[in-house]
Amino acid sequence: MIFAITIYGEAGVFEALPKERQDEVLSGHTALQEVLAQRGEFVSIKLMPPTSAVMVEAAGNTGAAPLITDGPFSETKESFLGFYAAEFKDLDEALEYAKMISSPVARLEVRPVAWAGGAISSE
């Protein structure tokens, strides 16, 4: 079963950490990517800061072109930073792997994937 490990946190906090702490966090990610690569296909994505985002919203009128707005508007709380997705035996195993990237700068969520296409497929 494919599980996603999604990462939430406050943008900018990681950047404000001293170099050694940043390296600690990154070493967890490097280790996880190495083991996942040995196991088979996986996806890992780190998003750019939310400041770079543009929103596409459906227009009120049917048939009208979607609205493109610059956003999202100033959220002081945590935002979506990135995710991993890979095949795991079960939830317990996915949780074990998620622990490798646990750190105070991020809140992790492990969730089964209902459908996946592209580089890794749920088919």
């Binding site: 406050e10 906090v13 404000a16 001293p18 702490r21 610059d70 709380k77 945590e78």
Partner: protein
Amino acid sequence: MSDWLEATFVQQRPRAIAALTRVFRDIDLAEEAFADACVKALTVWSQDGAPRDPLAWLLTTARNAGLDRLRKSRRRAEILSRHTEEFQPMPAETPDPDELRDDVLRLLFICCHPELERRDQIAIALRVVAGLSVEEIARGFLVKPKTMEQRITRAKKKILSNRVAFETPSPAERGTRLGEVSLMIYLMFNEGWSTSAGPTQMKLTLCEESIRLARLLVDLFPAMGEQAALLSLLLLQHARRDARIDEAGKLVALDDQDRNLWDGANIAEAMGLLQKAQRTGHHGIYVIQATIAAAHARARSPVDTDWTLIESHYAALYALQPTPVVRLNQIAAQAKIHGPHHALEALEALKHDLSGYRWFHAMRGGLLQETGDQRAAIDAFETVLTLAPTEPERVVVKNKIRISQKMLDEM
């Protein structure tokens, strides 16, 4: 754990100090109250874990700490006199993003007091908004901590005398504030980027802090293309930090930089931001400058540089900012397209305005060197040396004189 907490405090500081300054109408009290809240957070968060909304927690705690301090303060009457209506401590709820946005802008704008020298504006913003210590700021500006302390104290007095409106600004007023604040952030970066001798690490801190503030503006004003472009521009410059100084500490000209040393992550983010900024259709001074910087960043080697695009953007910049220095940059781009003779002719028109500007003579020297007029090139470079170049610049110019001299000797 405490490193992470510190990082959170650094991240929340501008918004927190800004909101508290509105509540108390006093920057010192706001800073003290925030410091109190951080001390409390160190104990409480370490035991109970961090709250989901750290800013709301810090603001509520700081507000209570500040009220406590205000009650005991000898300056109570003075501080309360700044409140036009009855003093209303803010309710303990999640801060309103719109209000917070104006708070941060106001605090930064207060730092840009027109009677303060630009460097003092930057220093006080670094102290109050970014939370750098006086020692750190002094090192960045290459002055003694004592001197910096005095300057900041004086600047603080001055900005307190400025009764900046605490009401919600009109859109026009907001635009003015945003322009002033953006310029200050841009100049803060330049201060760090400027090539004086001294500990490069602290100069880099100035650059990083200005990027953090530019990012804060984009966070608060996501629809403003100019602010996204400012962040993009600063990231594109900053990306070259490791390539522009060699192992011996010498400056490396753009053409001679090892482009593999440019920071790819900075450039990628900057390109994303620039694309977002260009979508607004408004091409202000930062969009234009970021577009130029992006053209350099895209070129895999100096010969791949799209000088036609750069030249046309300097022309556009000159239309908005008709200064001799912008024109000089435009001519530099023209030199790459039409050759040195054409550029030397164009430079004649700037001779009067820029006679005391060392980059004018440095560029002229370089062009003369290209045309083979080594004697005139040496004269131009000698002029640079009389115009107080920084130490790394002096090294570069002396080296150029040596090259011209050698060519003369071989003739």
